[in-house]
């Protein structure tokens, strides 16, 4: 029996096990929306902006590991997805985004609401399609999910002309996907793995750097086994937070621009870096030529282009992190058989000395709210058992620094693109996946205004998402740079006069709004918010002067860090001179 493209779309998504589509309607996708109207098993979640839909799909994907799905109309609907797609692309998140397109015959005619979305998204998708014939639709959808979720995951876009959704064809769901051009390498080269294992055995000062690839390949267990068996300290990039327990004694926290003193020191002093599922982003390496000057580098990644892109690599291992680590652990246990305890003593002692020398800390205050205190309290009250999304800026860095992520897929944050407005819709997507989990978006007063309309989505779906706004009345991270490097000239970063009343906004949408202006109110507000099964905005009016430390200035080596204390002193000195 022949069915329409719209029905093929729905049947295909069901075959893929999709339950939620985040989307927004428009003229050319009406055929699909009309069929979705009666669907019980496949729910369309109406967001209030297409960017919100894609971020929600992305949050769903990060929290579950499954592909997130979005559906939007042509033209402006499609172009509104671009930031969301680019965000997912930079962080290797599996998405399948469907955009409506004008009818095939009108393509190229500058038709009403036509945009060349396949052309526009070519550089920020893993792959994209324009479906020209309804007979290809099912196979394309199957292939799209396969591409999005295998190898190095990423977003895939499918552009669906209106006539394709109404044309009819038999529904034929392929059993498998066979592509001659796309065959990711999963098994690492055995010789290289042996090499790496022997280097680990010889190293005096090894450090593991774990990235988002550990999470996407589900290799946390293998990573922990490697670290514990060989007694190697582990630092986790922003995307890797949760890949290894942040509260583990071998954890060094995050490296790089706002990394811990001890992670950066350890990397710079190390004689062997074992980099797993990470790509040596410039925020991690700082000045490349001064990065880890004495270290040999073992680099495990599923994407060959990540290897030797930014840093020299001594042992490249292309493969799935989980598989590679399984083999490596086996080699270490059965062939290398080293007793690590004694070997590592000096190195771990040195690391502990760095940890005591400069632990992660902040100036506590009994009156004014310190943002780090809010994050610590959130961690304490949730006991780490929550899904935390962040926006971008200081709020994001304080979360990364002060919340101890112990489990994978508990942090949803835009790392590569640094997209303000990501966190709230992402939290909504995650809450759909885990209705009974506590999902919290740590936000900034600037970022939250970029997708604040999603309050409607949260409220109408009765989602108990919590938003903790660290309200400093500034585009704080930018202000921090202006303060340190632009002589305190705060060009267009002061939001003070125009900050809306977030409590009233929440209430206007039918959510709950709470506010804390004093340190002593933080805990009661959090407790109250966590006890209500409703969408809650918490407005934490924080110390606007607070900055993120340590900080590696752009272009400096990662051990050339600025610290709170020293910067304060030099500020005073500067003032004295004036």
């Amino acid at each position: 029996m022949k069915i329409s493209g719209a029905e093929i779309f729905i049947e295909s998504l069901k075959k893929e096990g999709v339950k939620y589509i985040f989307g927004y309607p428009g003229g050319v996708v009406l055929n699909i929306f009309d069929f979705l109207h009666d669907e019980k098993d496949l729910q369309l979640i109406l967001t209030r902006h297409e960017q919100g839909a894609v971020h929600a799909a992305d949050g769903f994907a990060r929290a579950t590991g499954k592909a997130g799905v979005a559906l939007v109309t042509s033209g402006p609907g499609a172009t509104n997805t671009v930031t969301g797609i680019a965000t997912a692309s930079m962080d290797s998140i599996p998405l399948v985004v469907f955009s409506g397109q004008v009818p095939t015959l009108l393509i190229g005619n500058d038709a009403f609401q036509e945009a060349d979305i396949v052309g526009i998204t070519r550089p920020c998708t893993k792959y994209n399609y324009l479906v020209k014939d309804v007979k290809d639709l099912a196979a394309i959808i199957k292939e799209a999910f396969y591409i999005a979720t295998t190898g190095r995951p990423g977003p895939v876009l499918i552009d669906l002309p209106k006539d394709v959704t109404s044309a009819k064809a038999d529904f034929v769901w392929p059993d498998t996907v066979e592509m001659r051009t796309y065959k990711p390498t999963y098994e690492g080269n055995r010789y290289m793995i042996n090499q790496a294992a022997h280097m680990i055995a010889k190293a005096k000062k090894p450090v593991i750097i774990a990235g988002g690839g550990v999470i996407s390949s589900g290799a946390s267990k293998e990573l922990k086994e490697l670290a514990e068996h060989t007694d190697i300290p582990v630092t986790m990039t922003l995307m890797g937070l949760g890949a290894f327990p942040g509260s583990h004694k071998l954890s060094l926290g995050m490296p790089g621009m706002h990394g811990t003193y001890y992670a950066n020191k350890a990397i710079q002093d190390s004689d062997l870096l074992v980099a797993v599922g990470m790509r040596f982003d410039d925020r991690v390496t700082g000045k490349i030529s001064a990065f880890a000057p004495n270290a040999k580098i073992v680099h495990v990644d599923i994407d060959p282009t990540s290897i030797r892109k930014n840093v020299r690599v001594d042992v490249p291992i292309v493969g799935d992190v989980k598989k590679v680590l399984q083999t490596m652990n086996k080699v270490l246990k059965e062939e290398v058989k080293e007793q690590w305890g004694e070997v590592r003593k000096a190195w771990l002692k040195q690391i502990n000395a760095w940890k005591t020398e400069r632990p992660m800390s902040y100036e506590k205050d009994t009156d004014i709210i310190k943002p780090q205190y809010v994050i610590e309290k959130i961690h304490e009250l949730t006991r780490g058992d929550a899904i935390i999304a962040t926006e971008v800026g200081q709020n994001q860095m304080w979360t990364a620094q002060f919340y101890k992520f112990d489990k994978p897929r508990t942090l949803l944050t835009s790392g590569g693109l640094g997209t303000m407005g990501y966190g709230f819709p992402a939290a909504i997507g995650a809450q759909f996946a885990f209705p009974n989990k506590l999902v919290i978006d740590v936000a900034g007063d600037g970022s939250i205004q970029m997708n604040i309309q999603e309050l409607a989505t949260a409220v109408i779906n009765k989602l108990p998402v919590k938003v903790a706004i660290l309200n400093n009345r500034f585009l704080g991270m930018v202000r921090q740079w202006q303060e340190l490097f632009y002589q305190e000239r705060y060009a267009h970063t002061k939001l003070e006069e125009t900050i809306p009343d977030f409590v009233k906004i929440a209430e206007a949408y039918g959510a709950v709004g709470l506010r804390a202006t004093k340190s002593s109110e933080v805990e009661p507000v959090l407790k109250e918010a966590f006890s209500i099964r409703k969408t809650v905005f918490m407005d934490f009016v924080i110390d606007w002067k607070e900055k993120v430390y340590p900080m590696v200035p752009a272009g400096a080596a990662i051990d050339e860090m600025l610290f709170r204390e020293e910067t304060k002193k030099s500020e005073k000195k500067l003032k004295a001179v004036k």
Partner: protein, 162 residues
């Protein structure tokens, strides 16, 4: 260093722009690019001439390989191979130079494919050096138009560079 890279791709709509987008997006250089179908009409071959140090060429090769529509990437520069390019040169010589133009064309085994009262159009096939040489000789004769196909390359069977 200059590299000639041969890329087998699915003969699909949009592939050329994926490849050129990769080069422009990542700031790699394209000196020439030529595309055509292979014997299998579902497969096209692109010959790309690019410049870069080993580090960049390694990235280019890997990035090309990563594109979903790319079947195979061969850096011809690493193999023994034959390279050719065709150019057509329209020359407008003075009366007294006409014979010289024809002589030069003959020496280079070019063919006159068109002529008018004032011009000759010469077709030349060869490698870089040969083309550069004939251009050098014809320049003083008055080159009016010049078009080239971009390089194509094929490996020599059974021979591997040491």
């Amino acid at each position: 260093m200059r590299h000639t890279i041969s890329v087998l791709v699915e003969n699909k709509f949009g592939v050329l722009s994926r490849i050129s987008g990769l080069f422009s997006g990542r700031g790699y250089n394209i000196e020439s690019l030529s595309v055509g179908e292979t014997i299998d009409p579902q497969v096209s071959v692109m010959t790309i001439v690019t410049i870069g140090d080993d580090w960049i060429i390694e990235q280019i090769t890997k990035q090309l390989n990563k594109l979903i529509d790319v079947i195979k990437v061969v850096d011809m520069t690493e193999l023994d191979h034959v390279e050719r390019e065709m150019v057509m040169i329209k020359v407008a010589p003075r009366q007294e130079d006409k014979a010289e133009v024809l002589r030069i064309a003959e020496i280079f085994r070019g063919r006159v494919v068109d002529s008018s009262q004032k011009t000759y159009t010469i077709e030349i096939t060869g490698d870089e050096k040969k083309i550069a040489a004939i251009v050098e000789l014809l320049k003083p004769m008055g080159i009016k138009e010049f078009v080239r196909t971009g390089k194509i390359a094929i490996s020599r069977e059974g021979i591997k560079r040491p």
